[in-house]
């Protein structure tokens, strides 16, 4: 376990170090997300109540689409120069590689959520007055990263990877996004956490299932 954590930390540090040099993941996601936020300002109803009801859906659409940019980039790092083969030949478990990629993707997406939620609130005068948003969005972002990295690993070896990723990924991610939107929406509208619990349970179930599938199947996906 100690060795696993040591390798995991080394892999994450390496990804963050590359990001520090290139700024190709977080900055791209941020610019993209802010652009959509700005466009929506003109497209949406100006009435505060109407905006509040649709806020959760819009924020998650922004996160999902900008998150896909990070997925492409995170796996592409290992595609260049045969780095995935260098990692597979190293004395580290495939599960550590999987978790490092999922955690890097999660950090990017959750960081984005921490920027987008308050920005949306300020731009659109929508009250976001519950700390529950923090952990609900963390659950949504982790599920997205856990499944996204798995599908990105499948498509990275293909010629049409940029097209294949959204085609394969978005249909499977629908239950997670619906649960994230519904639970976030309930919190936005001032309902109790108990009201959102069925959706939060779905989020947790999705996270557990796809994290387990990722841990088991990542090895076979990258070796083929």
């Amino acid at each position: 376990m100690k060795l696993f954590l040591h390798d995991l930390i080394a892999l994450i540090k390496k990804d963050l170090s590359i990001e520090k040099h290139t700024r190709e993941i977080f900055l791209v996601m941020l610019i993209f997300a802010l652009s959509i936020l700005f466009i929506l300002n003109f497209a949406l109803d100006t009435e505060v109540k109407a905006r509040s009801s649709g806020a959760a859906g819009l924020i998650w659409v922004i996160l999902v689409i900008s998150g896909q940019l990070s997925l492409n980039q995170i796996m592409n790092l290992e595609k260049q120069g045969n780095m995935l083969e260098a990692l597979l030949a190293a004395p580290i478990s495939r599960t550590a590689i999987y978790f490092s990629k999922a955690i890097t993707c999660f950090l990017g997406m959750y960081g984005m959520a921490l920027v987008i939620f308050p920005l949306y609130s300020i731009f659109y005068n929508t009250p976001l007055n519950s700390a529950h948003i923090l952990w609900i969005s963390a659950l949504g972002c982790w599920g997205y990263a856990a499944l996204g990295v798995l599908i990105s690993a499948m498509t990275i070896q293909t010629r049409m990877r940029d097209i294949l990723l959204p085609i394969l990924f978005f249909p499977v991610i629908i239950p997670l996004i619906v649960a994230a939107v519904k639970s976030t929406g309930a919190i936005f509208q001032g309902e109790t956490i108990g009201t959102a619990m069925p959706w939060i349970s779905q989020l947790i179930a999705f996270n557990v299932i796809f994290t387990a599938i990722g841990m088991i199947s990542f090895e076979y996906i990258v070796e083929e």
Partner: protein, 225 residues
């Protein structure tokens, strides 16, 4: 043969290794044995399966079947601990373009748990004449320089078995000299070395034995040295 005259125990033993991609059987029954201090040159036409065999031995892909696959007498390469004993040089540098040579080697030193990593990296970079460029991103290096750093990456953890897939491809004279010196040192240090190449003459002075991959099987080949 060992110094006492008894045959040296094989460091690497692979028997009846099989691998197919789709319907195409790339390796039908490849058997190979490497003893410490040996440098075996593996030749074969393009697409013969040389790289596939290297990938199987390095643990990158799994064989469909194999009667025996042992390194130092223990099964490999599925075991992560056993992969610690293997160094891999590919025709691609296997370095992160955006990181410097130092950062790349520091990362690999960490995942290979290399003791006194900074000192080891410094001495290797000095040997390949890259100390002055160690902080520049790898993408700014020439092909030869990248390959020299790649060789450092492969020997950083002092592996018992060195696998080299077309290591001479695209190298300048200086890089070829450095690579040859390192292979000679590896032989002297009783490492086992397997080099694939489509041009056996390129490394003929280094070889202790030649093998050829033909129709998915390994056969001995003789060259006049």
């Amino acid at each position: 043969m060992s110094k006492t005259g008894t045959p040296a125990a094989p460091l690497l033993l692979a028997q009846n290794v099989q691998k197919k991609f789709g319907r195409r059987k790339v390796l039908k029954s490849a058997s190979l044995q490497l003893t410490p201090g040996e440098c075996v040159i593996l030749t074969g036409e393009n697409g013969a399966g040389k790289s596939t065999l290297i990938k199987i031995l390095a643990g990158i892909i799994q064989a469909d079947a194999a009667d025996t696959l042992t390194l130092c007498g223990e099964p490999f390469p599925e075991s992560a601990a056993q992969r610690q004993k293997i160094g891999l040089v590919s025709h691609q540098p296997m370095l992160y373009n955006e990181l410097s040579a130092w950062e790349n080697l520091r990362f690999f030193a960490e995942i290979y748990a290399v003791p006194n990593a900074d000192e080891r990296i410094r001495s290797l970079l000095q040997r390949i004449g890259m100390e002055s460029r160690k902080d520049d991103p790898v993408r700014t290096y020439s092909r030869g320089m990248q390959q020299r750093v790649s060789i450092c990456r492969a020997i950083l953890h002092d592996p018992e078995l060195l696998l080299m897939d077309e290591p001479f491809t695209g190298l300048d004279t200086k890089s070829v000299q450095i690579l040859e010196t390192m292979i000679r040192e590896g032989k002297n240090d009783q490492k086992a070395i397997l080099i694939t190449t489509h041009d056996p003459m390129a490394a003929r002075q280094l070889a202790t034995r030649f093998l050829r991959l033909e129709k998915g099987q390994l056969v001995s080949q003789e060259f006049e040295l």
